[in-house]
Every structure is written in structure tokens, then in C-alpha cells.
Symmetry: C2
Subunit: 517 residues, 2 copies
């Protein structure tokens, strides 16, 4: 799939071609880095023996304990025909069957964006960053913590569009709680499609909303294009332990049958939804992902999928989920190894933290999970920026803080340049003992690109920093958010497509009453 | 050296044996974790070809460009006799000679503490954490940023003594600027020796002060013991590029001849003291460490040493050093590989940051360098807690923040337990699809030790946290510092030794006028 054709979205002309071209010419384009192509080794925490034990145990779980497909007779019928022993809602999957079924899933796929320069490859050596997903609350310095609205949602989409190191617009960046539950997916998709030109995620909260997502993409990309190419990567959570509910599976069925990608993700707070040990949790994660991805291939062999893992540990004193912890790192590193042995793209999360504020706790925990994400071989990193308070809050300042740190991962992933110029023997000879390199020829010709540079953190001398108001990172980030919003300009789009999308959304909204639960 | 005998300090009785025993009985002992014994793989950023290029180039630097030993005719004479081509103050070291000389240095050694339970192994799979070193300023929430005093110094020594995950008391935790320059080493050593029972570092600011350090250790540990065992690990910086000054080399000579360990560390801000490229900087680092460690072995073959690397990058816009950056990570990972190929213990730094406050910037940068330190195979991590503002400030709150995070590295370094209980197949069977693990037998018997737990961060629900004052990490840390200081109790020591140390310091101080420059 990696050689699939370029999406033609934005080039087609339904009406007003001249206006569209003028719109394109006048729009500002914000620089987005290419997704990471890792040029460094991976860190692997499990040895061969440990991996074989976990793989053996996961097959035992599938065969002996089985998995539940709830309220989903069609799924159970598919499993029966594939050779599983189905009893009630439980499918016992014979050893080796799920792994065999997973083989038709591609090891790598392209997700197309309406701007072809923003297409991403998911799998292999690539790493794609997407923002936080799901919080009902937002927070910023000025407004404090509050329920998220559609205006907040749009602001996040704009920030993501302008963030250089972010490759993906994400999905439910926050829950727009001022829009009815049964209609908000329409507004969210509209925002991703029109306020940004980066790739995005579809709705999974109802199978019918997955259908709406596909239909809106057909307007944006063209019907034939969508049927043959992946234009959405959507998040399908498993109700751990070992349960696949009809809502999520219904959405997966829609996406798989329409060639759209799903991240099949156990949702685990270790000690609650999985055993209180790393080896036990990895066993359950693998069993669940094998069953979920096998099922996607029963729906449509060849449908693109991602081996997901959302794993945190639990604070056994308070029962609160904890983030950026060493056990979660063990599990993520191990899950990466298991995914690679299945030859599947791997998703995990970065930017994880439990803190209520974008303070030092948030940053330690987030940096731990961002670094781990890179070294564990993650291909699609959800929650890579903006996540706060265990995922309850999408924080505007934290969004730009994390988004800045993603730049360090890009630079680190390049590995070490060993060419003759980088070896710098001429510079060492030129400077010699006791000299300094600031003015030497090698420094002059390389300094601009030599070192990664933050666009947020403060590197100034203490006195300057103090005179300028002794701002901490949160204040600097708040100012950066305002600066970015002032600079935002909407990417150009064919007015005919915009019009058709608006008409689709208006029709859909008119066809059903508001629902808030 | 790892099988060397236990230090007898604190057991010898010069006077008042009964009082000493009573003092020991009444003292509170604070728990200190054993140094880390890594049970995980290392991350290696350079391949074999890159390593060979760097090693070849470093030898070229030593032979062709050479290194300066400044104001040190004795050192130059040693180099001449060893086979170097000495011209003026420059020693050109023939290819292979320095590497050959390094072979007598031990790959691992024990640093003894006066409490044998606090002895540390340096080298191999071990990782020892020591606090920040060198800042002239201190900072805390209440007092802001100010010049450090001896009272601050003592407070840091007490905090380090009580910090579970910190194995080492360090050296110049901050500069006690209220004590004359030529006398402060005496007070600093006295604080490490009497307020803590963890291992510590000696003075390097004058060869005579290194002698004083050795003599005070002879009082503490016994003269014969010190001559045969390592009781100090001291920091010898190289004046990069390629310059070894007489002060630092004088101190190294004293320590090596007395069997005390030195960290031989290039001090590099990349782009200023080394080329603006990773490969070039690593070449220079290796050349400098080879020359410095070879010289230690010329002073006394078998003297314990550590391959040091203090490397940061530079912000080419402001000229400020930057920390926790991807280039510094490349260099540290590479330096770890080079040290292991020399079969030498490796030192680098964790907790590095450029921020003025213990805020999100500080924590992102510090977490980046702490994680890198663990995975790069560091054996002795200096600056692992308390470092702020590029090393200008030792921050009390940051000290306990970092010290807490060191616990995550301990847990991560244990690796993944794969025994039958950890595989948890019984628990997965017991709970089954749709259940939960909170009450199952496996969770009940494992939850206490299953997950690492912070002693600082907030895991409470939002409402509780809000009612309790919505404290950020810095405020929580400030309260933790106060709580720890209220709990501090001095570790017991033979009163005869205390008396002898006081007499030594009083005599030394009386023998010279105060100097403040």
C-alpha cells in the first residue's frame, strides 16, 4: 500500500476552480516535519525466552479462556466459520488461528491527507505523532479547568495544524460537550477536514457515526479513492479483560470493510483490567490484540490495522491510574517487540501524565513516556501532546510544551552522522589544545543545523530572564498559544467540497433529534 | 578490588567506646536503596563501523595534534619516559600507547562508606547516583535565588542522607560562599563525614586540598585502610579542548598515588570546547579521556578511574549551554559504548536542565537526561538531583523531585520478572472476560510491591487535590523538604573520630589566612 497513488482531494474541481486556485495561492502554509523515519536501534526489554512464554500463554488464553463478543451474533458467526469454538457469546480460538488470520494485515500502510505533503506512513521504521484524544475537560492559564466546547476543539485543531512536529490532526482532541452527543462527530470531522490539512481519525462511538465518517471522507477525497486507500485511522478500544463490545466492533466492521485503518487497543489500567504484573499484562494484551486484529481480517482480509496498547499502572493506595511509570514502560517496550514479531504497526501513547497542572510532575511523566515511545518502536503515537490529569483534561499550554519536545525525538531518531564533515578532524586540527570552536570554519558552516532548538523553552541568561518577568514554562507556553492563534490561517480547500461537506452535515443534523446522553 | 574488606570506620574505638555504642543505638537509620544492578539491555546508538572510526580518529588526535599538560614538568617527564614525543608543554602520544596504558585501570571498584551498608560498586552493571556538584547559588520557594552558604550545604547533605534512591553524598553539592575559598573544603568534607554515612567525593581545587581530603579520610577510615581501598571518588575536569591544567592534574596525582578514584571528565559545551558535531565531539572526548586515564596509570598503575563525559550542546543564538537535548543524548550514548570498549567505568550526568525554575522545562530536560543515563550504561551519575539553571543553582525543591524520579530508574532497571507467579495465568483464568483484577488472589498477594510509587507526586482525584489547595509539584516538593528536615537525625559516629576530625580541621584552618579568591 505504500506505493498507492496520491489523493486527489483539493485538486478536483466541482465548482469555482478559479476561486479555489486563488484561495490556495493566498493561504499561508505552515511547515510540518515529515513523520519520523527511525535511523536508530530499538530498545528491547524482553529476551527470546520471555517473548516465547508470553506468546505461548496468550494462545492458551485465547483457546482455553476465550474472548467475549458482546451483542454481536454476526461476529460470533464469523468466528464459528473461521474455526473457533463458540459457546454463548464466548469464542474459544484454537491455538495459532488468530495469529494465522493476522497475516493478511499489512505491515505498513499510507494514511492519506487532503494535502499530499501531509500523507503519513504507518509501520516499519516510521513514527507518526497525533495529539491527545478524549478529554471532556480543557484547561489553560486564563480560563482554568472547564468542560470542553466546540470552540476549544477548533482551537486545538488549529494548533495541531500549525505545530511543526505534529504529523496528525488526531480525533476527539477534546469532547465538545456543547454539541449533542449524536451530532458532535459531524462537527469534529468538519473541523479536521477544513481547519487543517493533516490526516485525522474517524468517529467510533456508534457504527452509524463510522459510516458518516466514511461518507464525509468520500466527499473530501472522492468515493473511489476512499474505497481503495486509507484516509482515516480510528481508535477501537477493547473492553479489557477479553471483551469486545458491539459498539466498538460495529465501528471496526464499518472501517475494515471500507479499507480504513483501526487501532485495536486494549484499554488497561494494570491491576484493574489486567494482572498486577508486567508479564501477565503483556499476555493479556497480546491475546486481546490477536483476537481483535484477527476479527478485522475476518471482516475484510487486508484491512489496515495497528497493534495498540494503552497501558497504565494503578496507585494501589488511591486506585488512581498512574502514568510515566517504570511498569508502563516495561509493558510498552514488550508490546513493541510482540507487535514486530507479528509484523504489524504498533501504537502506544506518549505525553502521559497524572498531574493536574502542566508542572514538573506532568513534564517528568510525559518525558518518560515520550522517550519510551520512540525507543520502543511506536509507529503511531496517540496522546503525544496536550494530555493532562490522566486524560481527563486537554491542556492548551501542555499541548505546545509537548509539541515542542516532539522535536527532540525527531532529532534523536536521525542517529549520528558519521560522514567526513561530521568527523570534524579538520576542525580539531584547526583549533588545537586550548582553543575554542566558536569561530572555526566547521562551526560556521554547520551551526545553523547542528543542534535542535526549542521554540518554547527559555535559554536566556538569568538576568535577562528575570528582567523579562521571570516567566515559567507555563506562562511561556500560554504566550506561545496566543501567538500561534494570532498567526493561524486556514488552509485552502476547493469551495465546492466545503459546500458539499456543509450540506452533508446540515442534512444529517436535521435528520435526528438532539441527544445529550 | 570488589572483594576488598569492609571498612572498619565507626567500629574502631579511640575513646568513649560506651558512648559511641549508646549513640549508635539511639540513632535513626534512614533506608537507602542498594545501587542499581542493571538487569536490562543497553541502548547503543553507534554501530561497529562508527565506533572504529571514532577510535581511529582519537588516536590520530593524540599522536598528531597531541595534548597539553600545562605548568606540569613532572607530567611531561612521565609522558616522555612512557614513550610520548614531548615538545614544549605538548605531549604527542603514539597511536595505541594511551589505550595500552589504560589497561591497568580496574574495570570495577568498590567505594567504601563509613557505614558498610552504603558501600557502592562502580563499574560493570552497576549505577550509582550522586547529587548536583558545583553551583554557587541555591534556590527554594521561600528564599528565592541567592549565594549558597555552609548552612545550605549542610541541608543538602542531610537531604541526600535521607533520600532513599540516592547512593552517594556527592562533593561540592553547592559552593559554601560564606567560608574562605582555601578552607571550605575542610567544612564540606566534615559535613559529608559527620552528617551522612554515605560515600562522598574529595576536594580537587588544589593538590594540597586533595592531600587534606586524604588525611581526613585516614582519620575516618584508618590510615592503612585508605592506602589499600577507595574511599573517595573525585571529579577531575579536563580543560577541553585537549588541555590538562596543573591544578586538576595535581589533585589527580595525589588521589591516584593514594589509591583514590578520579572521574576523568572532558568538560564540553559542544560548539565551543568541541566540534559542533556529535562524531567530532566523541572523537575529542575519547582522545582526552584516553590521555587523562593513561596519565593516572602513569602516576600509579591500578589506580581506580572513571571514563567521564560532561557534554552539553550550545544554543547558537544566545551562546547559552543547553541541556537534555538530543545531541547530548547521542554523545552520551556513544561515550558509554566507547567506555565499555575500554573496559572502564563510565560517568555521565542526569538531572540536567537549563531552566531557571523547577518547572516543566526543568522536568522535561531532566527526565530526558535521567532516562538516557540509565540506558547509556552510566555507572556513576553525577548531578542526578538538584541541578538547575545550567548548574549555576542547586535547588532544594528540584533536589527532592529528581531524587523521587530516581526511584523509577531503580524499578525499570530490574527488568521484567518472568517467573510463574508473574505470568499470572491463574489470575487471568480466575477473572475471565469482563471481570476485574482488583480483588483477585494474585493482585492481593502482589499489589504492595507490584508498582513503583512516588513519595512526592500527586495521584489524588481532582476534587481532593483542589480542596487541599491545588498545589503544584514545586509546592509539594517544598513541603517535602521541610518534612524531611524535621525528621533528620544524625547517623552515629565514634566520638573519638569526630573529635579527631574537628581537631584536624581546627589546626588546618589556624595554619593559613583566609582567602576569598
Amino acid at each position: 500500500m505504500t506505493d498507492a497513488p496520491t489523493a486527489r482531494a483539493g485538486r478536483r474541481s466541482r465548482s469555482g476552480g478559479g476561486a479555489a486556485r486563488r484561495a490556495e495561492r493566498s493561504a499561508v502554509s505552515f511547515e510540518t516535519a515529515k513523520f519520523i523515519e527511525r535511523n536508530i536501534p530499538l530498545f528491547e526489554v524482553l529476551n527470546e525466552e520471555a517473548l516465547e512464554i508470553i506468546e505461548y500463554n496468550a494462545e492458551t488464553v485465547l483457546e482455553e479462556i476465550g474472548v467475549n463478543f458482546v451483542n454481536n451474533p454476526g461476529a460470533l458467526e464469523r468466528w464459528r466459520q473461521a474455526g473457533a469454538d463458540v459457546q454463548g457469546e464466548r469464542a474459544h480460538i484454537p491455538r495459532g488461528l488468530a495469529r494465522q488470520l493476522c497475516k493478511t494485515a499489512p505491515s505498513k500502510f499510507t494514511q492519506f491527507a487532503r494535502n499530499p505533503a501531509r500523507n503519513v506512513e504507518i509501520g516499519g521504521n516510521s513514527l507518526v505523532f497525533a495529539p491527545v484524544y478524549g478529554p471532556p475537560f480543557v484547561r489553560d492559564v486564563k480560563g482554568g479547568r472547564r468542560y470542553a466546547t466546540m470552540a476549544d476543539f477548533e482551537k486545538f485543531v488549529k494548533l495541531a495544524y500549525m505545530s511543526k512536529w505534529l504529523h496528525h490532526s488526531g480525533g476527539t482532541v477534546c469532547e465538545p460537550t456543547d454539541v449533542p452527543v449524536n451530532k458532535r462527530h459531524l462537527d469534529m470531522l468538519m473541523a479536521h477536514m477544513t481547519l487543517s490539512d493533516k490526516p485525522f481519525m474517524g468517529s467510533v462511538t456508534e457504527p452509524s457515526r463510522a459510516c458518516d465518517s466514511v461518507e464525509m471522507c468520500e466527499i473530501l477525497f472522492g468515493r473511489d479513492f476512499v474505497q481503495e486507500n486509507t484516509v482515516m485511522t480510528s481508535l477501537i478500544n477493547i473492553n479489557s479483560p477479553l471483551t469486545f463490545d458491539d459498539v466498538m466492533m460495529g465501528a471496526l466492521e464499518v472501517y475494515a470493510q471500507n479499507m480504513q485503518a483501526c487501532i485495536v487497543s486494549p484499554f488497561i489500567v494494570g491491576g484493574a483490567m489486567a494482572p498486577v504484573s508486567v508479564a501477565g499484562t503483556l499476555t493479556q494484551v497480546l491475546a486481546e490484540v490477536l483476537a481483535g486484529i484477527a476479527y478485522s481480517q475476518l471482516c475484510r482480509p487486508g484491512a489496515p490495522v495497528i497493534f495498540g496498547a494503552f497501558v497504565t499502572s494503578i496507585d494501589m493506595n488511591s486506585g488512581a491510574p498512574t502514568f510515566g511509570t517504570p511498569e508502563a514502560s516495561h509493558i510498552t517496550y514488550g508490546a513493541g517487540q510482540l507487535a514486530r514479531r507479528l509484523n504489524l504497526p504498533f501504537r502506544s501513547s506518549g505525553g502521559f501524565c497524572g498531574s493536574k497542572l502542566p508542572d514538573a510532575q506532568a513534564a517528568y511523566e510525559s518525558a518518560n513516556s515520550l522517550n519510551m515511545g520512540l525507543l520502543s518502536g511506536v509507529n503511531f503515537m496517540l496522546h503525544s501532546c496536550g494530555w493532562l490529569e490522566g486524560g481527563l483534561v486537554a491542556d492548551f499550554e501542555k499541548f505546545v510544551m509537548d509539541a515542542d519536545q516532539l522535536g527532540t525525538l525527531h532529532k534523536f531518531a536521525e542517529g549520528v552522522n558519521m560522514d567526513a564533515d561530521a568527523q570534524a578532524m579538520g576542525a580539531i586540527r584547526e583549533v588545537g589544545p586550548g582553543g575554542h570552536y566558536l569561530g572555526c570554519a566547521h562551526t560556521q558552516s554547520n551551526f545553523k543545523s547542528a543542534f535542535w532548538r526549542t521554540e518554547l523553552f527559555d535559554y536566556k541568561p538569568f538576568e535577562t530572564w528575570d528582567e523579562e518577568g521571570a516567566r515559567d514554562t507555563r506562562v511561556l507556553a500560554s504566550e506561545r498559544v496566543e501567538r500561534m492563534m494570532a498567526q493561524y490561517q486556514q488552509p485552502a480547500m476547493d469551495p465546492g467540497i466545503t459546500e458539499a461537506l456543509h450540506a452533508y452535515v446540515a442534512n444529517k443534523k436535521a435528520s435526528m433529534p438532539d441527544a445529550f446522553m
